[in-house]
Symmetry: C2
């Protein structure tokens, strides 16, 4: 499997965990941050033991084949705009459009965060992924004899194939659920995961799996 050059936008829980598992898997990972020299940025990066560099969103994205959007939803548009031209690249949207009080999604049913992201970057291959399970499970996604699923969707078949390795590197079993429009469903599933974890105080030891026969 070819090693990929990846920009991870955001160094929080999700971005930090993905950067870790992907660099362990041998991919070249750079954090994209609004201000890579700030104290907060340096602290986030040093937590990962220096295995991941940090750059501006623009610099990180320009040299990357794959850009992973791992910022809070309200910061997503600004981060994307700061990247400049993303045309032709693969953009993996890992966000959930949560209301600030976590009582529901701010958008949904007739659109999704992923579709809004896609509208900001025409020509970019947008994939929704890594949003239906807490980041604490990345790299630790085994539940007894079963692996949690990594649901993803998108409209570009080749782009979907090329991120399979990234989903696998996060310990998740890749499950293609169809076109990007289905991000509406994945974001609602994520809301349920989060409600159980946070509002119902069940922690992060649960995961969705699609059974087939």
């Amino acid at each position: 499997m070819a090693k990929l050059s990846i920009a991870v936008l955001g160094a929080g829980n999700v971005g930090g965990a993905l950067a870790h598992v992907w660099s362990v898997a041998g991919h070249s990972v750079t954090f994209g941050l609004p201000d890579p020299q700030s104290e907060k940025s340096r602290a986030a990066v040093s937590k990962l033991g220096g295995q991941v560099r940090a750059a501006s969103n623009k610099d990180a994205a320009s040299s990357a084949q794959v850009v992973a959007l791992c910022v809070p939803w309200l910061a997503a548009e600004a981060a994307i705009r700061q990247c400049g031209n993303l045309s032709g690249k693969i953009l993996v949207d890992c966000t959930n459009p949560l209301k600030p009080d976590l009582q529901g999604l701010a958008i949904g049913a007739t659109t999704s965060a992923a579709e809004q992201v896609a509208s900001w970057v025409p020509g970019t291959k947008v994939i929704k992924a890594f949003n239906t399970i807490g980041a604490a499970n990345f790299g630790k996604a085994q539940f007894g004899s079963q692996r949690a699923d990594g649901f993803y969707c998108g409209d570009d078949a080749a782009a979907k194939t090329s991120i399979l390795e990234l989903i696998d590197a996060a310990g998740l079993a890749p499950v293609d659920v169809g076109p990007l429009r289905n991000a509406r469903c994945l974001e609602a599933m994520a809301m349920l995961w989060i409600d159980m974890a946070v509002n119902q105080k069940q922690g992060s030891n649960h995961a969705f799996k699609l059974l087939r026969r």
Copy 2:
């Protein structure tokens, strides 16, 4: 486990399958239909071998402890209105508010079919259930060594306990996902299930499961 008196509103795929598994489990089931003497109604009922009676929505509901709403979403409000006073009963909402073209949900994110149903029947204990898996799997929900999950949510703890037996009778493993508000998420999961089954032509041999550890 106490045997329940159940009105199943609607004798289509979902209502027919639930009426079958529940009557096999020993519950007393009556179909509620807008016109129980019509040819269509008689055909639906006779398909079940006479084990389930049919009555008007009002008669079926008035003698039932549990009312299961199994009609298409656009027919839901009329069916509920025809039942008359449901106060104090348990209402299991099995609907999904699908757009007619199955390309998405007609409502969601800020409300759900279940919450709309609840607004029509104040004092009734509304539970969302039986909507996240195709009716073809009711009574046949085993996937190898695993059982498909029967996700349900609602705001009345006692009502939730009393429908556990109904979920189990459908062959599903009951999974309580919290308050009725989370029907927004269950309806979106159902949309994903349906998109894979119908639009992606994968049939009905898939099911969601929540892994825990």
